[in-house]
């Protein structure tokens, strides 16, 4: 049942212990949220899942095999910024993954194979709500559209696990709500296990199936170096959300624009 298994993972940089003896398992098709204060090592942990960094001790297994020590196509990623390539149009950005797979030497497709890939890429762009923007460069897209593009680009390679590093942290609240809804729909429709780092607790509870809170248990100055963060809370969302069977969330969040007449804690405005 467990898809990713984390066994006694420690991460140290020189004398600084960042993560201390982390062990847990991630179920297949989970939507796992990593939360915690700044500097608690949640991004460090995500980087280890990505393969950019290796645990100092312990190991991480995926499907029973140790993680490859460098990023690969099994693990898609979306960062807060710089996730798309500025020199490629939206369509080219999405096509890139397929071109890498099918054209090892040129990294570029031509003719019928190119048209087939472009068709698939256009469908993906439409799926994330970017159908009109396929020929635009990322610099001409808003922050929210760039993140949608980054999602489409990552999904093109059909990764087993999608890693999200505060992907919506820089977005305006209204746009964030839209893209969160998109994220949840994609998770429902696609065979994906998602691990997402976020600062936004309401977002974590709204999207996730499970929430892991990283925290340093010992925080006195003389202790900071020698004690790393551990998992302080491991919360399964109740009632459980199951991929493909979740009720679509419609309730507005705390940061969303208020709907007239539906303000919590206030009587509905009366017609004068």
């Amino acid at each position: 049942m467990s898809f990713i298994k984390v066994e006694n993972v420690w991460k140290e940089y020189a004398d600084q212990i960042v993560l201390e003896n982390i062990s847990f398992e991630i179920a297949h098709r989970a939507f796992l949220m990593l939360v915690g204060p700044s500097g608690c090592g949640k991004t460090t942990f995500l980087r280890m899942l990505l393969g950019e960094d290796a645990p100092t001790r312990g190991k991480i297994l995926m499907d029973g095999a140790p993680l490859v020590a460098e990023p690969d196509a099994d693990r898609g990623v979306v960062f807060q910024r710089y996730s798309v390539f500025p020199h490629l149009t939206a369509l080219q950005n999405v096509m890139l993954g397929a071109e890498f797979a099918q054209a090892p030497f040129l990294g570029r497709l031509f003719g019928a194979r190119r048209r087939a890939v472009a068709k698939k890429a256009r469908a993906l762009l439409e799926d994330v709500g970017l159908s009109g923007a396929q020929d635009k460069y990322p610099a001409a897209l808003s922050g929210g559209m760039q993140q949608r593009l980054a999602l489409a680009q990552a999904l093109m390679r059909q990764p087993k696990v999608l890693l999200l590093d505060e992907p919506f942290g820089a977005l305006d609240p209204g746009i964030r709500a839209d893209i969160q809804a998109l994220m949840q729909r994609l998770w429902n429709e696609t065979d994906l296990t998602i691990v997402m780092v976020t600062h936004d607790l309401p977002e974590a509870f709204r999207l996730g199936t499970r929430i892991l809170a990283f925290e340093r248990s010992r925080n006195r100055p003389e202790e900071r170096e020698r004690y790393g963060a551990t998992i302080a809370r491991d919360i399964e969302i109740w009632p459980p959300r199951v991929a493909g069977a979740t009720r679509p969330f419609t309730r507005p969040g705390r940061d969303d624009p208020a709907k007239p007449g539906a303000e919590p804690g206030r009587p509905a405005t009366q017609a004068s």
Partner: protein, 272 residues
């Protein structure tokens, strides 16, 4: 209003920019007039008429001895040397620079060497080039290459390593190999930056060209001004200098134009 808040309008900007040019011309004509009034045979500040006459002879009347139109033959010879040399150092720098910036092994291997090499004054190497390669075209082209290559390589390697780490990680999660990342991520993003680097190299490149032509040559713009210097032929030297300046300015403008036209994404991406 504070002086630093005073911004010229379009028309004012044009006038302001024209002032230094006009003043320079005016001052020259004034002093030329004064000297010529005193001594009509004065060679130091020739009149506009005598300069036009001199260039007319060189540009539109075939040389009696060789049958060449000297002005155009000089221009062609100089531009050919400059073009070949810059093409060589650009292509070499593009390859070496991207490899150095992309691969830590290559950066460690070549970085310190190129850093030391770039400090060797090219003009001090000129005698060595003349001894080894003879006085022909090869040594002049080699001088310009030596003068521009280290700068271009270091600049490009730096620019590659300045690309956001996220881009390389993302490309790896899309399944790209090192070669594909170089070809589709690093190289295309370097081309517009190369145009910037080339613009900065143009000045030194002309310097080395004129220096090499001055010392040993039988044609070229630099050769000509150093040749007629013996006869105090300011009526040839001044227009030649103006012509060289104009050529350098035009190539700079052309590079900027190409950058804007060929890489529309670059201006927007740089601004954001």
């Amino acid at each position: 209003m504070r002086l630093l808040n005073v911004k010229p309008t379009r028309g004012q900007a044009l006038v302001l920019a024209a002032i230094p040019f006009a003043l320079t011309c005016f001052a020259y004509l004034l002093f030329s007039q004064l000297r010529l009034a005193e001594n009509p045979n004065d060679k130091l500040l020739p009149s506009l008429g005598s300069m036009i006459q001199a260039i007319n002879d060189l540009a539109f009347h075939a040389d009696a001895r060789t049958g060449q139109y000297i002005f155009w033959a000089d221009t062609a010879a100089s531009l050919q040397r400059l073009g070949v040399a810059l093409a060589i150092s650009t292509i070499a720098a593009l390859i070496v620079g991207v490899v150095m910036g992309l691969l830590p092994i290559a950066g460690t291997l070549l970085g310190p060497f190129v850093a030391v090499l770039s400090m060797a004054p090219p003009l001090a190497l000129l005698p060595i080039l003349f001894i080894v390669m003879g006085l022909g075209e090869a040594s002049k082209i080699a001088l310009i290459v030596i003068g521009s290559f280290p700068f271009l390589v270091r600049d490009l390697a730096l620019r590659v390593s300045e690309l956001p780490r996220e881009q390389f990680l993302k490309a790896q999660t899309l399944g790209a190999s090192t070669w594909q990342i170089a070809l589709r991520v690093a190289l295309p993003q370097m081309l517009p930056r190369l145009a910037d680097a080339l613009r900065l190299t143009l000045g030194p490149a002309w310097l080395f060209l004129i220096a090499a032509e001055a010392i040993a040559s039988d044609s070229g713009l630099g050769y000509r001004i150093f040749l007629v210097r013996r006869y105090l032929a300011m009526d040839v030297i001044l227009p030649y200098v103006a012509w060289i300046t104009l050529l350098a300015f035009l190539s700079d403008a052309a590079l900027r134009w190409v950058q804007r036209r060929a890489f529309p994404w670059f201006v927007a991406a740089r601004a954001s």
